[in-house]
Subunit: 325 residues, 3 copies
Amino acid sequence: MNNFFYKKKKFILLEDLYKICNLSYKKNIKKKILDVNNIKEAKNSEITFLNSSNHLIDAMHSKALVCIVSKKFEKYLNKKIISLVSNQPEIDFYKVVNFFYPTSNIDDEKVLNLKKIKVLKKNISIGSNTIIDKTAEIGFGVKIGNNVIIKPYVKVGNNSVIGSNVILSNAFIGDNVIIKSGTLIGQTGFGFKYINKKRFNFPHIGKVIIENNCQIGSLCTIDRGTLSDTVVGEFTTIDNQVQIAHNVKIGNFCIIASQVGIAGSTIIGNNVLIGGQVGISHHLKIGNNVKIGGKSGIVSNIDDNQIVMGYPAKNLREFVRQNKK
Amino acid sequence: MNNFFYKKKKFILLEDLYKICNLSYKKNIKKKILDVNNIKEAKNSEITFLNSSNHLIDAMHSKALVCIVSKKFEKYLNKKIISLVSNQPEIDFYKVVNFFYPTSNIDDEKVLNLKKIKVLKKNISIGSNTIIDKTAEIGFGVKIGNNVIIKPYVKVGNNSVIGSNVILSNAFIGDNVIIKSGTLIGQTGFGFKYINKKRFNFPHIGKVIIENNCQIGSLCTIDRGTLSDTVVGEFTTIDNQVQIAHNVKIGNFCIIASQVGIAGSTIIGNNVLIGGQVGISHHLKIGNNVKIGGKSGIVSNIDDNQIVMGYPAKNLREFVRQNKK
Amino acid sequence: MNNFFYKKKKFILLEDLYKICNLSYKKNIKKKILDVNNIKEAKNSEITFLNSSNHLIDAMHSKALVCIVSKKFEKYLNKKIISLVSNQPEIDFYKVVNFFYPTSNIDDEKVLNLKKIKVLKKNISIGSNTIIDKTAEIGFGVKIGNNVIIKPYVKVGNNSVIGSNVILSNAFIGDNVIIKSGTLIGQTGFGFKYINKKRFNFPHIGKVIIENNCQIGSLCTIDRGTLSDTVVGEFTTIDNQVQIAHNVKIGNFCIIASQVGIAGSTIIGNNVLIGGQVGISHHLKIGNNVKIGGKSGIVSNIDDNQIVMGYPAKNLREFVRQNKK
């Protein structure tokens, strides 16, 4: 996964998987598994999982070493892959991820090693009480407010402005980005399952990428991804108190007004305009140039160039017609 | 009330009530009132109030010494109780509460006496700039982030994680609780009345109880109770930017998505699932195992096991049927 | 504009306007422009703009020296005014504003010069890690929490309480005001336009005025105005997580529940009651004594004394009738 943010376990033996997720491989093969990955990108030293018909073609061509798979999808796997049948492939895979990346399912509050930044040399300004981990990279000309917390391995690009009380973790911030005060970027998302009357928190080994020239308002929360990244595209502008959940991808030049909430894994195109207090459900696809009226509730995909409003949202003309006196 | 968080006035004489709320007891009895309480639990040294037909049976059996009561309910009171008839029993009672607990109606911003915590001995870690009052109790293995404020008499149970920028006041936090960054727990709620062109803020002598194994997201606000506590039950999991008002009781194993708002005194059962941006009105009762679709507006009670959606919310099947194209 | 918060450029020559906004005045007149202003209040040394039929009468009587104006409105201008015709009068005017007030379109995160406050003399209390700029004015008896940031030229009136983690900039806070923890007041608002594939941020030379005896909840955002002020009237009470956009004016004795969002330039009367999670669109006028039910979406003006609910909001009786089972 090429993940900068974690100390990773070096490997696990195939035969030891039963210790983690109660799945064992009966044949007498010694194999070292070196990392986790999604089924499309997994290398032949990596473990992956399959539990959805959306990935059957990827499954046929996958180069993974091992795949945790539900019984009904096992037959679609590339025959070279060692398959481990499970009733809960996703959960079992997450357990393996948590083994490799042991702190990826919590917001680690360990004490930081403070960085000494050459403020003058790089033309950086930093306010009072601000804490920057020594492994973070801060670009030229960056302005950072007071009480800011920048956690390990975060990168902030050149000439960006980080408001006061901001917390950055597991995030790459581009150049010329403005993040207003009180916003939290890169925390674990709302991913968990109750199993046997306990909470099992999903790993979050993705990061947040805020691309160049974005502007993020105050008191927003942008959670990092589980297995992929959460992305805000270039020049997108976001108002105050917006919630962006894990794995969301937002395109370029979008405008997102105040108090919007976008649920997990939803993908939003370019030039999308989202009015205040809109809620967008999870795992949706919103096309390019879409306009969504204020306070709408979006529960299904929207094609390019549509203008919608309502709860549930419909074509704007239809919304207006239905609400005439 | 057995309240740890306040310095309480020791007593008030019955004859001096007129100084506080303009109610006087004409007979020549010297009585000391030692505390305030609700009508059900009041002891025979305490003052209470009655202004609702919901508590008539409690009124008959109440052991209170004094009760501030509206004219029409006076006849239901246990005859041993000294009754004080008022046009505004609740407000007059609140005035007495404010007398006994003089700072309970504001968020006191007095300067804290900092605690020295034996970090190594109790395996506690504490970030930079964090302020913990010397009367707070911090359990074994607790991790606390940066810029955290923990106010007097707060208790944090073992192995809990308190994110950065969190403020805790008037709260008991259980074991294995996770509170993410930027969340504020235990402040006064939105309770007040305009009287004679001034604001009269209600006392908030309740606390917030976060039970064991809860997880609370970032930038949430959970206000403390007025006369009772605000409670989040075991293993309940709450996402970012959620508002929970004073006196709300939430059961166990509930799942509450982002940007939900729950208004004052509402009671929510166990295993309740609440979608993003849902609003729930005040003084409602939501049953066990209820599922509420995203962005719904709840304005009436919901029985056990219902699935609802909409604004105002209705049965999910009905919502889908009405919104078919 | 009589603006305390900025270092202003002293003047610009009429002939140099083309450098800023590509508008030039061909005649051979040497004129110094000393400041920017709206068309009604502009003095005869100031520049203004006109691009709306709402201000034609003001245009006829305006004393401005120069006006940037769209072709179709030029004829309405007082003949003494030097007119500069533009295809985009508002944007060109904003460019001139940005010239006069060069940092007014960003939230400046420059390092503050800390103030030494005579705490005892003025009966002020200040928590830990709190940063107050030396140009800020703090009244008698003010209580300030921890981690607070008070930026240049802010005024806080007597006996006000400023909660922890609050950030105040470009704001005048009245007497006896309560601002709860985590609230941000006075930042730039959500005003910008994409021009030639770049973001042009509008100037925000207005301030926020919180009048006497207001109470603002936790984790609210109240943005400062662009060319006018954002105002919260006397005794108005606001709950947690409320968003108030730039230029909004709220009257006296209003009650605004949690998670409400009010979009830019909307004007709200006195004694208005706004339920939780209500959204109010921009540039609207809400009358006096209006009551708005929880979660309503307001997209048009509301007359005095109306009671409304719904999305879009309608008369409450109509809302109830339509939603009967």
